[in-house]
């Protein structure tokens, strides 16, 4: 009943959420999930919101599930080159998952 699939997880700055999603759309992903108002610490120090004044130092997590590993890698590479390589804080990783209704991905 379950089929193998790949989940790409991108955790990055809230300010570029829309731009990342635009990029995902150019890769014709069928869906994604966004988690907002995230806090964490990394190379660029603590990243957290500023009491409702601005979300610009917050993080978002964007998850994309695809059935094809090559497509997942292409997405990760594009996100890396456009955003994560030098300009914006963030990480991206790939997970092996199993999904129900594989045709959705």
């Amino acid at each position: 009943m379950l089929a193998e699939a790949k989940k790409v997880v991108i955790i990055t700055e809230a300010v570029i959420e829309e731009k990342v999603i635009q990029l995902l759309n150019t890769h014709e992903v069928k869906g994604y999930t966004v988690y907002r108002s995230l806090t964490g610490k990394g190379e660029r120090g603590l990243r957290s919101g500023l009491g409702g004044l601005l979300n610009f130092s917050e993080n978002v997590c964007i998850e994309i599930i695809v059935s094809d590993e090559l497509k997942a890698l292409a997405i990760m590479e594009a996100v890396y080159h456009k955003f994560l390589a030098d300009k914006f804080a963030g990480i991206a990783y790939l997970e092996d998952i199993r999904v129900i209704r594989p045709e959705k991905f």
Partner: protein
């Protein structure tokens, strides 16, 4: 300017709430203003400025001065960003991205400084041309776009195709929530007038000062959490942050007096629009437009240096300059 006026503005509720916020952050208190509450207060204050201005414009009517004001605000926005950028790159050898970001923050409008300049005039019962606050988007957008374009011109050799285009920047500025609420409130206030607003106006009028004071607690908490970042700031840049708002005030006050605004209007134009350094909208715009710049640096300068100096010294200074210029020019 007398010490008494500075003391008075230091011991006013907004400044004291700001100080309380900073103190709470420094002693690591668990005091937090919930995100949504902070955001709601910000939205309320901007709407209130717009509505109060709209109702007042309904009573006084529109004249050519509004158009002249809008042009002057746009030109000053460009001028201040250009002056700031030139000073930072030429005099202090700051790199183009950070110079553009800092000049943009300082050229853009700080809604909190605008709000407090209005509460200052309300307190000392000085009248002002009601439309002046609504010139916000003109100066704000002009300054941000100019600063970004100047920085990009120097950075272009390094090739960067990801940032928003000039057209996108203009659209972003003119559709920002600040612009929509201020202009929207102004139009609502103008259409309905004092009679139509009779039942809604008490909310925006009576609560304005209290909410502005309480909102400063939230801003104080944020500023206090960023206090440590000042230690890393280059001394010349710190000097720029202390001095630049004063230069902005003097330039803008002179131009505002020349276009015929009253001392009250000149005060709002000079400190509420030109003197303040944006720390709510500019950081977001700059983070995407000039990602190479250090976002903590410009935010710390605008929030931890420029805001307190402007609130305590800048606002009374602007008012006294306006009164002086009204007599001199």
């Amino acid at each position: 300017m007398t010490a008494e006026v500075i003391l008075q503005s230091f011991f006013s509720p907004p400044t004291l709430f700001f100080a309380l916020g900073i103190m709470a952050a420094v002693i690591k208190s668990d005091l937090r203003v919930p995100d949504e509450a902070g955001a709601t207060m910000g939205l309320f204050l901007l709407t209130a400025i717009g509505i109060r201005a709209g109702v007042a414009v309904n009573e006084t009517g529109i004249d050519l001065q509004v158009a002249i004001g809008a042009i002057a605000a746009t030109l000053i926005g460009c001028l201040l960003a250009l002056a700031g950028y030139t000073m930072l790159t030429r005099l202090f050898s700051i790199d183009p991205a950070n110079a553009g970001s800092i000049a943009g923050h300082f050229g853009a409008v700080s809604s909190m400084t605008l709000i407090l300049s209005i509460t200052f005039l309300d307190q000392i019962k000085v009248t002002y041309e009601p439309f002046v606050a609504a010139l916000y988007p003109f100066m704000d957008t002009a300054a941000l776009v100019t600063a970004i374009l100047l920085a990009r011109r120097s950075l272009s050799s390094k090739k960067d195709g990801n940032g928003p285009s000039t057209k996108e920047l203009l659209i972003e500025g003119l559709t920002a929530r600040t612009t929509v609420l201020l202009i929207g409130g102004l139009v609502i206030g103008f259409i309905t007038g004092p009679q139509g607003m009779a039942r809604a106006l008490p909310l925006f009028d009576t609560l304005f000062f209290g909410v502005a004071s309480f909102f400063m607690l939230d801003i104080g908490l944020v500023a206090g959490a960023r206090l440590a970042e000042l230690k890393k700031v280059n001394k010349f840049v710190l000097g720029y942050a202390l001095l630049m708002p004063v230069i902005h005030v003097l330039v803008a006050a002179t131009i505002a007096t020349l276009i015929g605004l009253s001392p009250g209007g000149v005060t709002i134009f000079a400190i509420g629009l030109a003197g303040g350094a944006s720390f709510i909208s500019a950081p977001i715009v700059m983070r995407t437009a000039l990602p190479q710049a250090n976002p903590s640096l410009s935010l710390a300068l605008a929030l931890v240096v420029a805001l307190p100096v402007n609130v305590i010294v800048g606002i009374p200074l602007a008012y006294h300059t306006a009164v002086f210029l009204a007599g001199a020019l």
